[in-house]
Symmetry: C2
Subunit: 340 residues, 2 copies
């Protein structure tokens, strides 16, 4: 089933180079001329040599492995982020070891320890399980995406600007009362900016507003129940035309479904904006206006920050970053059928 | 930043064992007594030894790596399948290297060759890019999920039974005309069974039926346009109560949206069934009845078939399987608001 293993001695005999030269080809190819590199490369192909990358990694420490920790893949946001990260293989040739954390801190820590034993070069963290201080203590190149990142490099959406964009559009749509619906979001999480952006814009424009936060539970069914109750509450409120900005497209779709089941079609007294540009925003009964995160751009920035750190580690005397680098990516307002 | 590297000599000195014994601990632990294994394990912890798994892999060939090739992560079906596969880390401790194929055969082949150079133990293939004959030629343990698998082990949903379940429910709902909507599906793909199951059940029950196949393009927008046209076509058809079975929940949701935009609420003259139990089936304006694939069970079976082959490879004289093993998992009908 397997062909005979080709050894350095076989390659040396075939090419008339010494075994030392063959070894240099694998561990320090730049020390050979281009012509000699090419001769050996051809011989490897002709002999059917199967490269053992692990041996090479042991010699030079460059595993070309990156670990990724995602909280879950149920939410399309994380699936799409992972999709974009994995696609960078075409450009950078890093191979990705992927782990789904599911809020299980102990298993996540075990997994990271395992990855370190496999000499991964870097780590991309999307889970919220560990603090950035705990992550920094691993002393391995790290970048986080859209989470608390005080002590490590991180990329996030400019959530404040997203809140401003959504609220400004609802004001331009002549809404007389603005409502923001969100879960209970702590101030140190990037997504809190959505609430702040909404509130500041309402105040600056002197528009009556309300912020409704709730615990939506951890199932889709409990979210439907909660948002159904909030819809009934909003129906009772004063205000000729209500502008509703929801923390994500899943909430926005459930709210829209409540409205349509009540009115039969999209009524003139509501305007709705979601957040994320998830597929559900397009697939809703009326395509939902939303604040789209630029996932491709976020991933591109995350890879830049990670590669910067990983390249540094390959130097003879690596200098760690003095300060973690943080980048914010501006989201884009996508206008569909739930606003003018 | 890094602690001093702990060598075998350090461990030997600390434990009073010979270096040979320490080496045996790493490469053949079963040759030591449990007590001595425990003594060395304690010493490693006390000395802050960081295991170098790569060295171990080189010694015994067990990398604990499995490669996964998914076609994309845009479709929730693949994201959920990946989620379930990655979750098996908790049970089996295999680490997964993930690649998104995006129909790019050349890059997929390069990637698989790279993984083989990293001594992966097995491969899980969900992409349709290569034939099972090409996959078998890699001579590495392989299992495919829901795709052509003549020459390798494979797990798929019993699509025929799913078609029968959906159609039988529409007949019980007293539909006088049955319609199946699907893309142009070749007969050698497992999903073709949905069409066959529909047709056989209609014939066995003497119910008038129609199979509408179309090219839906490769974007959501083109799918919406196509299904809108098909809805208009079905509106013109005879039949008091129409039972529509669609190839997946994305199609079913678009069809339902067309119906609701036309009628304002769910009308008595339609019954709708989708396939997959994707989140969109729950999130639709009226939750959609669907044939749910048992993804967890499919993954469990796929891992069993893969581990069977990987364990065999670790034997002194591995015997390859005489015939590839194939398993079919029966889907489950999930009744919601678009049927009685």
């Amino acid at each position: 089933m397997k062909s005979k293993k080709v050894t350095f001695a076989d390659i040396a005999a075939y090419t008339n180079f010494s075994k030392t030269t063959i070894s240099r080809y694998f561990n320090n190819p730049d020390s050979l001329t281009i012509e000699n590199q090419q001769k050996i490369a051809n011989a490897l192909e002709e002999l059917g040599y199967q490269e053992n990358k692990l041996a090479k990694v042991l010699a030079n420490g460059k595993s070309e492995f990156i670990g990724i920790i995602v909280p879950n893949l149920y939410l399309h946001y994380y699936a799409e982020m992972l999709n974009q990260i994995l696609s960078t293989y075409r450009q950078h040739h890093y191979k990705f070891l992927v782990f789904v954390s599911d809020n299980d801190k102990e298993t996540e820590q075990n997994y990271i320890n395992e990855l370190l034993a496999y000499k991964i070069e870097g780590l991309i963290v999307l889970s919220h399980t560990m603090t950035s201080k705990e992550l920094a203590a691993y002393h391995v190149p790290i970048v986080t995406i859209e989470r608390e990142s005080e002590h490590v490099c991180g990329v996030s959406t400019d959530n404040y600007m997203g809140g401003v964009q959504a609220t400004s559009l609802l004001i331009k749509n002549h809404c007389s009362k603005l409502i923001h619906i969100n879960s209970n979001t702590p101030k140190y999480i990037p997504a809190y900016g959505r609430i702040k952006g909404f509130e500041d814009t309402c105040k600056a424009n002197n528009i009556p507003y309300e912020i409704i936060t709730a615990d939506f539970g951890d199932s889709y069914a409990s979210t439907v129940t909660q948002i159904g109750l909030i819809f009934q509450q909003i129906e009772q409120m004063d205000g000729e035309k209500k502008g509703v900005f929801l923390a994500n497209d899943t909430y926005a779709n459930i709210f829209l479904n409540s409205v349509i089941r009540q009115y039969g079609s999209f009524p003139p007294n509501y305007r709705i904006v979601g957040f994320d540009d998830s597929p559900i925003a397009s697939e809703a009964i009326y395509p939902i206006t939303t604040v789209g995160q630029q996932i491709e751009k976020m991933v591109q920035n995350a890879m830049e920050l990670l590669i910067l750190q990983m390249e540094e580690m390959k130097k003879r005397v690596p200098k760690p970053l003095r300060e973690p680098i943080h980048r914010q990516i501006t989201p884009i307002l996508i206008r569909r059928d739930t606003t003018d």
